[in-house]
Symmetry: C2
Subunit: 265 residues, 2 copies
Amino acid sequence: MKLTPEQIRQFEEEGYFFLPSCFSDEEVAVLRDEAEEIYKSNRPEVWREKTGAPRTAFAAHTYNEAFRLLGAHPRLVEPLQQIFGEGVYTHQFKINAKAFEGDVWQWHQDYGTWARDDGMPEPRAMNIAVFMDEVMAINGPLMLIPKSHKHGTLAAEHDVTTTSYPLWTLDKETVTRLAQEGGIVAPTGKPGSVLMFHGNLVHASPPNITPYPRKIVYLTLCAVSNHITKFTRPEWIAHRDFTPIVPVADDALLAYARAHKVAAE
Amino acid sequence: MKLTPEQIRQFEEEGYFFLPSCFSDEEVAVLRDEAEEIYKSNRPEVWREKTGAPRTAFAAHTYNEAFRLLGAHPRLVEPLQQIFGEGVYTHQFKINAKAFEGDVWQWHQDYGTWARDDGMPEPRAMNIAVFMDEVMAINGPLMLIPKSHKHGTLAAEHDVTTTSYPLWTLDKETVTRLAQEGGIVAPTGKPGSVLMFHGNLVHASPPNITPYPRKIVYLTLCAVSNHITKFTRPEWIAHRDFTPIVPVADDALLAYARAHKVAAE
C-alpha cells in the first residue's frame, strides 16, 4: 500500500494520518478473539491494572500467528518503508486493553522514552494504532496535539506513580503552549481503522469510564539503520532483532481468519 | 420560559433535555469572571483538588449578585415550576471547575445522595447544568445514561476514596446493564448552553486531561413540598431555606453584566 502525496504532506505538517477501516471486519474479528485469549494467559508479557484487569500485552507478534501476520502486514509496513526510505523492524508491539476504568496515560512523546531508555539515535520510528474496538469520543480515545512533533524532544519527567507504566511525561505549561499552537484532536472510528503518528507527536489518553471496551494494537516500527543501542528494558518490550520485516501477502490475515472460522461481527 | 410538549416528552422518556445557547455570551462572561474571583477566595464553600486547584464552589447565589440572578433566572426556574406544578427552592448550588487533571466523578444518581444524606422524600428535584466554558468531547464532558431515571433509586456504595467528594456510586455491572438499554450520551456545546436532567438519571464524568477549562454551574432545584427532612450536611451544601424562588426579570442578568462592563468574549 502506497501513501498519497496528500497523506505524506499531512504527516509532515500535522504529525499523523488516519486510515478509516484499513482492516475488514473479518480481519479484526480474529485479532480481537485472539487478544482475549492472550489476556487470559499468565505470560510475563501481559501487564494488568491494579484491579487485575488486563492493561497491555507485549510482543504478541512473537507468540501468536494472527498478530505475526498483522505485524508484517503490507498496509502497515509499506507506508513506513516509503516514509523512511529503507526497511523497518519491530521496536515494540503491544495490545492495550483500556477496559472500563483503565488508567489515564499522561501527555508524553514516545520518542522521549525510546531515546532515553533505549538509546534510539533519531525519531525515525513511528507509532501505528490499529483499532480493535470502535474508538468513540467517550471511551478513552487517544488525544494528539497536531504539529507538536516539530518541537523535537521536549523536557520531561519520569512519572512512575500516576500511571501503572513508567512514562516520561510533559508538564502542564508545555502541553498548554503546544495546544494553543496545534489544538487537540481525538480521532475516532470503526474497528480496523488505523492511526499512524510521529514518534515525537505529543499524545495522552483519559481513562475509559464507560462499559465500552477500547482495545488498540500499538506497533512501533523503526528504520533498520536507526536501531536502538541501549538494552535497559526486557527484549519483549524493546526488541533487539533488527532484521527488516518482509511484508506478508495483503490477504494473508484474511486467509488466516477464514481458515480459523471466526465470524465477522 | 415554557418548555414545549416535545421537550417535556423527551424529559419523561430520556430523563434529560438540552438547551443550546440558553444564555448569551455577555451573560456568561460576567458569570465566568465572577467565578474566577470566587475561586481565588478563601471561603469554606470553596473546595479544592489535592493539587490545590479549585474543584467546587458551593452556595455562590448566597454571596454573589451575578450568581443570585442566575439562581433565580426564569429560563431555569420556570421550566421546573412547569414540570413540578408548584414552586421550587434551591437545594444545592455549585460551580464545578474541572480544570486540567480534575478528578473523575464516578457513575451515580444524585437523588441517591439527596435521599440517603438529606432525607429528600421523592425525586421531585432536578439538576441544571449551565456551561460556563465550551464543553467538548475531550475536556471531561458530563456523560448521561438515557432512560436510567426510570429504574428508581439503585443500590449504591458510599465512595469516599476515588473522588475527592463523597458519592454514592454504582457498580460496573449495573452501569453496563443500564448502558445496554439506554446507551451513553455526552452533550457538548457552547458556553451558555443548559442541560437539565432528572435526579435519578445515572451520570459520570471523566477527568479533564486537556488545558481547556470546563467550568459548569450545577443548580439543584427542588419542589417546595418535597423539601429535605435530615440536616446532616452543612447548610451551604444542602440548603434549609425552602422559600419558593421568585424569578427575576429575563433581562436582569444581562443588565447586571452591562452595568459591570464585562466584555463578551
